[in-house]
Structures are given as structure tokens and as C-alpha cells.
Amino acid sequence: MRQELGQQIGEKARELLSSGVVECVIGYERATDGVTARPLFVYGVEDVDRLIFDDTCIHNLTRYLLNRRDKNTAVVAKPCDSRAINLLLNEKQIEREKVFIIGVACQGVVETRWNQAGETLQARCQLCSQHTPVVYDFLVGEAPPEQPPPEAYADVLEMEARSAAEREAFWQEQFDRCIRCYACRQVCPGCYCSECFVEQLDPLWVGIRIAPAENQIWNTIRAFHLVGRCIGCNECERVCPLNIPLSLLNRKLEKEVWELFGFQAGMSAEAVPPFATFEKEEKLGIGE
């Protein structure tokens, strides 16, 4: 099955490259540890056999589309990743006709670390009910049978249940660790500003210090800038070298946006995101 998916992707890649439909196919290949996967950019048919797909293919490759805006590119996208394509289309960052989406019906991916691939599905995959990409041009794989999703926000609810002081202590400890390597930002398909607020000198919102106060503003505003935009690929948390639970923040906001506005990022390229619109009569716990 796994091999088959890689082959199907490879065949499609061969067809797309040889017909000149795209210039490059972004997919996965085996990493140098022989266990995990890594992104692969295929420019010629001679490399299509390197393409693989299995449950270690955790990267969200859609971020790379931003580096290839003006070139025709095919990208392998899992359902969660595919939402990023809608996000980027909605935010006019990419053109639909320049992107060929090789969608993968996804059974979930595993937690991986260098040299290790987990046995069980990632927690988010266990909660996932989107097994088919929301947008694609060609689909490989087979979605697993639908199952009622369990409580999706158990960890968020648990955190909400704690006292303010406990929450503050928890996050302070998390943010204190941050070394501002910006891997979370660099890997995020939604973080594509040419100059991030955190690195701007004028106005000087945040200084260069890798220190708790700066770290807090950085992490808070990073999360805020993803309100209604985070598509839940979890890449930020995966790449964090200091294991800061960034997705907990993202998912808290995702939950709020869903509850308040019934909106989920990236489900369609046309839906109006929550901060682009409003309802006159909405009750949001403000000024009421």
C-alpha cells in the first residue's frame, strides 16, 4: 500500500514533468536516517523514483509553493496541508492555475523524530475527520472509513480549567525556553510576511533579546496573527527544537473561531475569514 502510493505519485510526477505541465514536483523522499521522510523537489523524470509516501511524511509541503509563486509546480498534499493551499489562495499568495495538487487521501501520520518513527498516529490525526484533501487535482490513496471524532479539544479544555496563575506559570515556563530560532514561523504556510513584525526596527515592536518578555510577545502575536488562518498542520510544534506546545495555542484560537464564527481556515478558498468581516448583531462577550 505504502509503496503503491509513492509509485502512483511518481507516475503522476512523471506525466506532469514530461508533458511540461509543471516544472517541479514537490514530494517526499526517505531522509538520511533511513527512517523518516524529507521534502524532495523533483525537476526531472530521472528523480521520480525517489518519491515516497507513507505515514512518516509529516511535512506540510505547501509552504514551499511560496518560493515558487511564478512557476508551475505540483505539490503532494495531505488533507491538512491542502487547507493551506486554500488559505494561500484566499490570501492571494498563489495562483490556482500554477499549482497542481497531488492530493493524498490520508489515514494519518505518525510522530517522528530523527531516526525514529512512532507506532501510533499523531494525536491530531486521531482527532482528524478530514481524510480527503479539501482541494486537489489528482487523488491517490484511500480515505479510512469515517469514525465519530472524539473530543477534539481535550487538552485545550484541560488548560482552560486551570487557574489563571497556573496558566501563567505554565506558559511562562514554555516561553522562557524559546530561543527565537523562528523555525515555527519559517515552516508555517501562513507566516509569509516579507518582514515579520518581530524583526522590524521601525517601529521597534520587539527587540532582539532572546528573553522572557520578548519571547512572550513574539509567541502571543505569532498565535494571534494565525487567528482564523491556522490550518492545523502542526508543523510549528513539530519543528520547535525546544518542544514548546505551540499547537495548544493555535488550537485554542481555532476552537474560539469555530465557536464564535463557525469558521475553519482553509476549508474553502472563497470563504471570508473572520477578521475580514463581521456581523452587526453578534455577541462576543464585549460591551454587552
Binding site: E160, E168, Q172, W205, F224, G287
Partner: protein
């Protein structure tokens, strides 16, 4: 008896309604605690969450964002956008352990001097009840 804890507050007030409402409170000689520092903005929708975060970083115990009542915005829609933005920011801050109560978003019209006075007074009391924010080491 110990000196009562004096919280620090920043208020971002829209020029057309709430700033004028604060003017009205003064003109009517309504007194309220002197803890608030007011920053005039054209519209509550102008307030970037970064300004709120910087205020907290600067040492504010509470931040007030105030604009026209829904439907009254001088720019027709600014306060609706502010409402969405700050509803989310409040949830996020609360989740991070900065109590929701520390970020107040309220509607005060140009004629509501009394409402402004009440607002600052009750906010001050609320912050006194919550106590100082825990220090984030610099």
C-alpha cells in the same frame, strides 16, 4: 494601614465617541481614579493587538479599548472589527494566564461621561481585586 495598591491602566479611546465621552466626564466634573493614561486613536478598530501587548509589557495592569457603540462608529464598521479582534485577543490572553478582565473593551458614546467615569472606577476596582500582574523577568 498599607497604601492601597494602585493599578496602572492604559486606555485607547476612539476620537469620536469615547475620547469625547472622557472629555464629557471632565467637563461635567465627574471624578474617577487617576490611574488611567489615555491614548487617543481615530477608531477602536485602529488598535493593533500589539499595542495592547506592549502596554502590558510596559507594566500596565489593565488595558481599556473603547469605541463607539455598535452602529454608531464614525467610520461605520470600525468597532465591529475591533469587537472581533479583541474578543479573540481576550481569549488568547486569558489562556496565557492574563485574566480576561485585564483587557476591557467597552462602548462609550460622546455623551456618556457618566458611563466613562463608572467604567474607569469599576475597572480600577476590578484590577485592585485581581492584584498586580506577576513579573515577567526582563
Amino acid at each position: 494601614m498599607a497604601v492601597e495598591y494602585q493599578p496602572r491602566m492604559v486606555g485607547f479611546l476612539c476620537n469620536w465617541c469615547s475620547y469625547a465621552g472622557a472629555d464629557m466626564a471632565g467637563t461635567s466634573r465627574m471624578t474617577y481614579p487617576p490611574n488611567i493614561r489615555i491614548i487617543r486613536v481615530p477608531c477602536s478598530g485602529r488598535v493593533d493587538p500589539l499595542l495592547v501587548m506592549k502596554s502590558f509589557e510596559q507594566g500596565a495592569d489593565g488595558v481599556l479599548v473603547s469605541g463607539c457603540h455598535p452602529g454608531d462608529c464614525h467610520y461605520t464598521e470600525g468597532n465591529y472589527h475591533a469587537r472581533r479582534r479583541f474578543a479573540l485577543l481576550r481569549s488568547l490572553l486569558d489562556f496565557l494566564g492574563i485574566e480576561k478582565e485585564r483587557l476591557r473593551v467597552e462602548w462609550v458614546s460622546a455623551s456618556e461621561g457618566g458611563r466613562f467615569k463608572e467604567l474607569v472606577s469599576s475597572f480600577t476596582e476590578e484590577l485592585q481585586r485581581l492584584g498586580p500582574r506577576s513579573e515577567v523577568s526582563p
